[in-house]
């Protein structure tokens, strides 16, 4: 088997995201279906207004949470598969060399769909555990008639089974196209992000010290890693700041839920991004350590270059969440009563930034320590 369940298990980040997305969407969609069943019983003006507000809220939350997290999951899945192919290209190249067709190898990538199945199943079950409290919260003033909890098979199908199947199919299709490379390109130790090596015309230019040149080259050659670091910082920034603000704009429960989801998502994307950065540069670090470069120099050349990128991601995430919330308040919540005026939350930004820096630096320190004992022997055995 090309990919083991263990490889798929490393995609726990997608499981977490799927879990969060399905949890929120199940809560709101189930409530939506159940409230639709009592539509005819709603007669008072106050109850009708409440009903319409609830329907709008369901639509906004499901589109924002479901859509946003779905997009994040897709990006993570594609990134992980690309990274998997890059780090296992020799084994995959050997399979191709001995005659396995691309589609036969790609078919094994279905197991990555399991991470979605696992996460969404947990999210679905978790939603039913939280549902009584959620229904009570949504109808706290008892303005609406009693809304009873019903099980809807269509939600189970659309939020658990269908995404798992679609993600498995997406993994196979993406892997199939990524495997469409010459066997030698997979077997040879060629740069992974560039199909044709760039000409490095550096004659006459002022020559930088090697570790500075390596830092520049690491960033320019591994663009997908740079993108993922920016993306993870973007997610972290947007989700945490949005979560803090949601506590003001929505209920305490909703705020707490958003904060938990935001932190889980932010941490998992950041963790996966930094893990990928270290794994993607494992060989370079091992060679540097063997030649006698210190841990500090390796860290500077390989890991430190991603730091400014992560701050860029954080800044973009801050702007994104600001405009998203502005639009939400202006457009979606326009008809709602008692919605506090929206202003940019500097405290939330500084708290998020402090948490982000602490987690980022901790992860970098952890991996930097891990690479301390790397030697060329590790890559000889690879």
């Amino acid at each position: 088997m090309v990919i083991s369940i263990k490889d798929a298990a490393k995609l726990f980040g997608i499981s977490i995201i799927a879990c969060c997305a399905v949890l929120v969407c199940t809560l709101f969609l189930n409530f939506y279906f159940d409230i639709m069943q009592i539509k005819d019983l709603i007669v008072s003006q106050q109850a009708i207004a409440m009903y319409e507000a609830q329907i709008s809220q369901v639509k906004v939350v499901c589109i924002a949470t479901g859509g946003g997290l779905l997009l994040t999951s897709v990006v993570m899945l594609l990134f992980y598969i690309k990274n998997y192919i890059d780090t296992h290209k020799k084994s995959l190249g050997i399979l191709k060399a001995i005659g396995y067709p691309n589609i036969k190898i790609a078919k094994h990538f279905w197991v990555f769909g399991l991470s979605v199945l696992l996460g969404s199943a947990i999210g679905f079950a978790g939603a039913f555990c939280l549902m009584p409290a959620f229904y009570a919260q949504q109808n706290s003033g008892s303005i609406l008639p009693e809304v009873t909890i019903n099980f809807h098979v269509s939600i189970l199908f659309c939020l658990v089974i269908l995404p798992a199947v679609l993600f498995a199919a997406l993994a196979i299709i993406y892997a199939y196209f990524k495997l469409k490379r010459a066997v030698l390109a997979l077997l040879k130790d060629s740069p992974s992000d560039t199909s044709t090596p760039k000409k490095h015309k550096d004659n006459g230019k002022k020559q930088l010290p090697f570790i500075k040149e390596l830092q520049k080259s690491t960033l320019s050659q591994k663009k997908s890693l740079v993108f993922f670091v920016i993306f993870s910082a973007f997610c972290f920034s947007a989700m945490t700041q949005m979560s803090f603000k949601m506590r003001e704009l929505s209920s305490e429960m909703m705020g707490a839920m958003m904060l938990l989801i935001g932190l889980a998502l932010a941490l998992s994307t950041l963790f996966i991004a930094i893990t990928a950065v270290v794994r993607g540069n494992f060989k370079t670090i091992a060679i540097m350590r063997t030649l006698g470069y210190s841990q500090k120099e390796c860290r500077y050349a390989i890991l430190d270059g991603y730091r400014p990128m992560s701050y860029i991601g954080f800044a973009v995430g801050t702007l994104y969440q600001h405009f998203m919330l502005q639009i939400a308040v202006d457009v979606v919540f326009a008809d709602f009563d008692n919605i506090p005026e929206y202003n940019f939350d500097f405290i939330a930004m500084f708290v998020s930034l402090a948490i982000f820096i602490a987690i980022y630096e901790l992860l970098i320190f952890f991996y930097s320590e891990k690479t301390k004992k790397l030697s060329v022997k590790e890559i000889m055995l690879d």
Partner: protein, 230 residues
């Protein structure tokens, strides 16, 4: 002078624990061309790793002019390798994203060597400076690896089957470069090989078998790279 005293090294643990190096004792003089000769699995690469400070022995001493590197910390070993050791491996281990010049600069910068372009020219790589490793032949890649090692101006050059992936003509060429550069610069060479013919180039031949040094011979009439068999 490099001395190995009562070196023992184990891999694995529990039932799978096995001894790779068994009570190794040897001496290599400064400026010597030593070959560690043995079949696959004899422990020769592990011995090279221990002598070069890539791995620590489980017991015994590795002395470089009386300094025992076996007790060095990780940082001390890194510093030691930086200042004293050059490596050439069968798999080259060049950085694929960097061009030839930058790969060689990787070695040069460690010791502040700004004159490394002379080595590039000496190894006939002047025309290839802007190429990346995957645009080079195996022999050219190994020459880049040699240049990178020599740009560090090492006192001891360790080579692990440097011609293992090369054809006869390129292999002889590479060995000739190494021997020539050693004659010019006077560094110590310690080379691991399974090829008895290559061992004829050495002054000192250390034969290994099942983790033990079975024989150490001094070769009074070393041959050059074009005189040995293949």
């Amino acid at each position: 002078m490099i001395e190995a005293k009562n070196i023992n090294k184990f891999y694995g643990n529990g039932d799978s624990k096995f001894q790779v190096l068994k009570n190794i004792n040897l001496t290599i003089k400064n400026g010597d061309f030593a070959v560690i000769l043995g079949a696959s699995g004899s422990g020769k690469s592990t011995l090279l790793n221990v002598l070069s400070g890539l791995e620590r022995p489980d017991s015994g001493e590795v002395l470089y002019d009386s300094a025992n590197i076996a007790v060095f910390s990780d940082n001390e070993l890194t510093k030691f390798r930086k200042n004293n050791i050059g490596f050439i491996f069968q798999q080259y281990f060049l950085l694929p994203n960097l061009n030839v010049r930058k790969n060689i600069k990787m070695g040069a910068d460690l010791v502040g060597n700004t004159e490394y372009t002379a080595i590039i020219e000496a190894l006939g790589l002047g025309e290839k400076m802007q190429k990346t490793p995957n645009e080079l032949s195996g022999g050219e890649q190994q020459r880049v690896s040699i240049a990178r090692a020599l740009a560090k101006q090492p006192q001891v050059l360790f080579l692990d089957e440097p011609t293992g992936a090369l054809d006869e003509q390129t292999g002889r060429q590479v060995l000739n470069y190494i021997a020539q550069l050693q004659a010019e610069n006077g560094f110590t060479v310690i080379m691991v090989t399974h090829n008895h013919n290559i061992a004829n180039m050495a002054n000192t031949i250390i034969s290994m078998n099942s983790g033990r040094v079975s024989d150490i011979t001094q070769n009074q009439t070393p041959l050059n790279a074009y005189e040995i068999g293949w």
